[in-house]
């Protein structure tokens, strides 16, 4: 070591007076497996107490709302305050049904994965209000750039359940030709962008789509969803900056479900500030909303969508919610968090809360709810049965072999033609009776 190195070397070699040694802060969640959960640190403000500025307000007026929590459903299951969207009972019942259908779909497809019918599945249990309410608040042709937990939007927009299952099974009827991991849907006709497994990439893309809509003088807006964990990606900053610079008609949603696989929100900066508070730094509107309150989510999304549509610019919404189950079928959350967390979540279950509200209105009953649960379960069951006729993963009923090489480019270049020939030759060597155009492999 030279002199300079010695001077800058270890603490023992240095004499720095009475300066304290520097310490690295590594965030730690409050509760680990086996811990008693105490949610007294989570401030749950009373429903109805949050002011609702005009949609065209200066972004700075939303600043208090970025650290508050917009809530509509109160402890007596009434809808109260200026954010009450005053939806009619029929709409509320439809929303409730879509949320229940989403949960039923998740439950059944999760089991399908466990039964070996596919490789992977991701549930959105506990977060149904976010996606379903968003779908109801947006126009049908507004473009959604989802993450992997917005199946509720696809379901609410009427995408056929059977096609979802076909995709999950990567079978011969899969519209994505068996190329994508289960649940990475793409549904252009339903305004639902192709889901990426690389997180946060959809955020700048949504801005680009919104910019294009503005360039063309269109009236459609874009909206994007991201988890609080992946809001740490550079793409988030890129998206915020571009949206602010060009005043893009886009609604950003950070679904803060507290957990990114095993990393709690503190690893995305959640210990320091709310995720909605980031809006202020970019000079855009921000809202923080009770993500388990289907009416509050609807109201916030509608506010932001109307603002964007009126050339008022982008809004960042933080949906404060809880990931009630594992990250995916490949995850066991009991290994890193207390099981009590989910049960005691102070904002409750979004479906139960909406159900109780409808009951309080005299527009619903426990019996009707039980009947609905049976109906949606049957609906999902019928869709899976139908989809299974097209095959399940690994059982031979897949798209014709050559499709593996298609769509890399618009036209197949010579090197892909050669590689396709190779792949087909390998197949034929393994199964001499096999024909390249068949969709079912020999037993």
């Amino acid at each position: 070591m030279g002199d300079a190195a010695a001077e800058n070397g270890s603490a023992a070699e240095r004499s720095r007076g009475n300066l304290p040694p520097l310490r690295l802060h590594v965030p730690e969640p409050r509760f680990r497996p086996g811990d008693q959960v105490d949610y007294s640190h989570i401030v749950v403000p009373p429903a109805g107490a949050q002011p609702r500025p005009d949609e065209t307000c200066d972004p700075v007026e939303t600043k208090p709302l970025c650290v508050d929590l917009i809530r509509v459903l109160d402890d007596e299951d009434r809808a109260v305050g200026p954010w009450d969207p005053k939806l009619n009972p029929e709409t509320l019942r439809r929303k409730l049904r879509m949320m229940a259908l989403t949960r039923a779909f998740d439950d059944r497809l999760y089991r399908s994965q466990r039964q070996g019918k596919t490789s992977f599945y991701m549930k959105c249990t506990g977060e149904e209000a976010v996606s379903v309410s968003a779908a109801f608040a947006l126009d049908r042709d507004d473009m959604v750039f989802p993450s992997y937990r917005q199946q509720g939007i696809l379901i609410s927009r009427g995408y056929p359940l059977e096609d979802m299952v076909n995709q999950i099974y990567s079978n011969r009827a899969d519209k994505l030709k068996g190329r994508q991991l289960p649940i990475m849907y793409s549904a252009r006709d339903y305004g639902f962008f192709s889901i990426s497994g690389n997180l946060a990439t959809q955020f700048p893309q949504a801005v680009g789509w919104a910019m294009a809509s503005a360039i063309k003088g269109d009236t459609r807006i874009a909206t994007a969803f991201i988890g609080e964990g992946s809001s740490a990606e550079g793409d988030f900053h890129a998206a915020m900056t571009f949206a602010a610079v060009y005043n893009a008609p886009v609604v950003f949603n950070v679904v803060n479900n507290q957990w990114a696989i095993s990393s709690f929100s503190g690893f995305a900066g959640g210990e320091r500030a709310t995720f909605a508070a980031r809006a202020e730094g970019y000079g855009i509107a921000g809202l923080r909303v009770d993500g388990n309150d289907a009416l509050a989510v609807y109201a916030a999304m509608r506010w932001a969508a109307d603002r964007a549509r009126a050339n008022g610019g982008p809004t960042l919404i933080e949906h404060f919610t809880y990931r009630a189950e594992g990250h995916s079928t490949s995850d066991d959350p009991s290994a890193y968090r207390s099981v009590q967390e989910s049960k005691d979540w102070p904002l409750g279950d979004p479906i139960r809360r909406l159900m109780r509200h409808l009951i309080a209105l005299g527009e619903w009953s426990e019996e009707q709810h039980a009947t609905m649960d049976r109906e949606v379960a049957e609906q999902v069951k019928a869709a899976t049965k139908q989809a299974e006729k097209n095959g399940i993963l690994g059982h031979g009923l897949h798209h014709p072999f050559h499709t593996m090489f298609e769509d890399v480019f618009e036209e197949l270049p010579w090197h892909l033609e050669e590689q396709a020939d190779q792949a087909i030759r390998e197949r034929a060597t393994k199964w001499p009776d096999w024909r390249p155009d068949q969709v079912e492999a020999p037993k």
Partner: protein
């Protein structure tokens, strides 16, 4: 869409343009033809780009079609992916190829795979223009040739012109292509051909046949190489700046080489390569980029796989060294006449 090769250039009035002017003209012509084309990038708007490639376009087509962007390549390419999903045909500029890395995820994981992963529901029809290569004392952050990073990615096309004439026709074809295209512009030859003799006075494109650029619309199909010079002593495979260096060295040595300008690396004109190497029996591959895992390795492997029994000598590779591009020792790094000359001598020694 490229339906045929409408290079009926015999009648078109040609005049000398430098490569920047040719690129500017290609952008102008395509923007006039297709209202869905938009240009975004750092300094491309009012100012017209640091190399002036977009000069005058904002004034002509308006601020909503040609505009400056934040200094954020992830955002530039990410937004372009979203614009393409909407139905626009963005032509983003990355100011230097060296700056493209913050946008790699958007390019590699998103643009390149959009058609495939959505089974054709969404495409990423965009052309990313970016000046690349050294020879201008740009140091390690303004001199790189990262083309092999992109040729390695399924779903991207990579195009590199070597003359103003080709730059215009290839850029028009790239913009009209429905797949994402990386269009690398060899900035050393923006203003004139460069033969590698850096001590000599620089030349302009005026006296070079490749500087004669036809007026109006024409395209050069992607995937078609150009035989720069026919010959029988050896086949030289190169692109961009190195075409001119190779030409000068081989002329100086009086060697009857066949020089092929690949023009497009993906899709590659394998037929032109095979035909030539089978004829000459010798192959020299030249690029400015670093050597290990460079595109020359791919070319060398292809020639070996397809022309082995016609080869009379091992395939030679001349490349930049596997170091960052140095500033003061730029010309020691650059694969210039001496390095190429040595390889030529080795190829011809028996």
């Amino acid at each position: 869409m490229i339906e045929e090769e409408p290079v009926s250039l015999a009648d078109a009035a040609a005049r000398p343009l430098n490569m920047i002017e040719a690129i500017n003209e290609a952008l102008d012509i395509t923007m006039a033809r297709d209202p869905d084309i938009v240009i975004l990038g750092e300094d491309v708007g009012y100012f017209g780009g640091v190399f002036r490639a977009t000069a005058g376009l904002q004034a002509k087509y308006g601020k909503s079609r040609v505009f400056d962007s934040p200094i954020n390549e992830c955002g530039i390419i990410g937004a372009a992916v979203g614009m393409a999903a909407y139905g626009l045909r963005p032509v983003p500029e990355i100011q230097f190829a060296d700056y493209i890395y913050p946008g790699l995820d958007q390019l590699v994981s998103e643009a390149a795979r959009m058609r495939y992963r959505s089974a054709g529901e969404f495409t990423a029809s965009m052309t990313i223009r970016s000046p690349f290569g050294g020879g201008i004392f740009g140091g390690q952050t303004h001199s790189q040739s990262p083309e092999a990073l992109f040729t390695h990615v399924a779903g991207l096309k990579t195009v590199i012109p070597s003359t103003p004439h080709d730059a215009k026709g290839l850029l028009i074809a790239a913009i009209e292509d429905n797949d994402p295209v990386i269009f690398f512009e060899p900035k050393r030859i923006y203003n004139g051909p460069f033969d590698g003799y850096y001590d000599n006075p620089s030349k302009t494109w005026k006296a070079h046949p490749g500087g004669q650029v036809p007026e109006g619309y024409y395209n050069i199909p992607l995937g078609k190489a150009r035989i720069v010079r026919e010959g029988s002593a050896m086949t030289v495979l190169a692109y961009g700046t190195m075409i001119h260096v190779a030409e000068a060295v081989l002329a100086e040595k009086g060697i009857d080489a066949e020089i092929i300008d690949l023009r497009t690396l993906v899709p590659l004109d394998i037929e032109a390569i095979e035909t030539s190497v089978k004829k000459t029996g010798k192959c020299l591959v030249i690029h400015e980029a670093t050597r290990t895992s460079g595109f020359g390795a791919e070319l060398s492997a292809l020639v070996q796989e397809r022309c082995f029994y016609h080869l009379e000598a091992p395939v030679e590779r001349v490349t930049g060294f596997d170091t960052p591009y140095p500033h003061s020792l730029e010309w020691a790094y650059f694969p210039g006449p001496v390095r190429i000359g040595e390889a030529v001598d080795r190829l011809l020694k028996d």
